[in-house]
Symmetry: C2
């Protein structure tokens, strides 16, 4: 398992409720791919969403969004968490 941060830039003028709805769909699908989305952040001003997830691979993380609602990330970064 590794940690990934993705960026969705084209969520347009989606409202918070729509993003939350899409996130619920992710949660319903993620188990199938061994993915655990632990956090997300929505920028309503800039029409962007960031998702942080533990996943077995970049592809598995991408597959969750693709299957759940089709709103795929523009980029996925493999990351390590900073020190506290």
């Amino acid at each position: 398992m590794a940690l990934y941060m993705d960026i969705h830039r084209n969520v347009g003028d989606s409202k918070r409720e729509q993003i939350d709805e899409a996130h619920k769909k992710d949660l319903a699908v993620q188990g199938k791919y061994g993915v655990d989305i632990t956090d997300y952040w929505h920028s309503e001003k800039d029409g962007a969403v960031f998702c942080l997830a533990e996943a077995p691979s970049k592809e598995a993380f991408g597959a969750v969004h693709r299957e759940a609602h089709g709103l795929e990330a523009d980029e996925i970064f493999e990351v390590t968490q900073g020190s506290k």
Copy 2:
């Protein structure tokens, strides 16, 4: 105060230790600008860093990085935290 996520794309092949060092410099400066950097993530593979912070403004957040080490973000997004 608002929540911001920024992206630094040009950290090149910096190693984790260098990113941690830069983060310590941020922590030493942030109080002056009323900023609280709560998390960061480093992608060594992709040469990128994400920082999450509570700040009074986008400009204040940017000022912390500028003064601390000069490694400014490429983009700063005002975000809201997703539901748990």
